[in-house]
Symmetry: C2
Subunit: 134 residues, 2 copies
């Protein structure tokens, strides 16, 4: 698991979020990817995903830091389900420190060049069930 | 969500498990599907998945009943991530009633005939992170 290709890909994607390099970030997603912005709110496709990350960066006062902790990767053919502890921290506009741990679920698929792309980015994991009506 | 095609497909798959019709059940999986039997133990492909379900049926004294509760479905192109409350019950060999609720994660993909097939069946959801070393 330590050296799984997807672990490194997700680390690079997190680095792109942290430096707000959304051109680099979008390259990790498939053209038809879906991002769960929050329960009940989805971004579909690269344009909507870019706008969502721009809004998220603004919301967190350009101080969001994302990194992954423990990870499980289940592969089946050209598809993979990644279960990952996701650690978020930021200095919020109120000057209070925001810090949060989620158990995220990401679905990756190999494209025609055999490169892994994120097709479903759901950082809320199974908490969607509790929170989707909020 | 109530009428999503995948909700009905999963209900039919549960019915097949409950009546131990593994021929019908395997039709819901892709040829390259992966089933998480328990954390750290995978069944890959239809032969291994059939053997796993036969062993599970035996373990639960042929009394396992599986059904789904609340469900969230996130689609992206021909792929879907299903987050679902999964309710398991059985009369165990000790005559005690076994009952358990899990928050499962299933990945489905449309095959070349546009029929949804389960490619990753992980009934443990994000609990894999805690339990994978058990």
């Amino acid at each position: 698991m330590e050296n799984h290709e997807l672990k490194h890909i997700i680390e690079e994607a997190d680095n792109a979020i942290n430096r707000e390099d959304f051109v680099a970030l979008l390259d990790f997603y498939s053209d038809d990817a879906t991002l769960v912005i929050k329960p009940g709110m989805l971004a579909k496709g690269k344009d909507e995903i870019r706008k969502a990350f721009e809004a998220i960066a603004e919301y967190f006062n350009h101080s969001l830091v994302v990194k992954q902790g423990e990870m499980s990767i289940i592969e089946a053919g050209d598809t993979a389900l990644v279960i990952s502890k996701t650690l978020l921290s930021a200095n919020q506009k109120t000057d209070s420190i925001f810090s949060m741990e989620r158990k995220a679920t990401y679905v990756f698929k190999k494209d025609f060049n055999k490169i892994w792309r994120c097709v479903i980015d759901n950082s809320y994991g199974v908490d969607l069930l509790e929170e989707k009506n909020i």
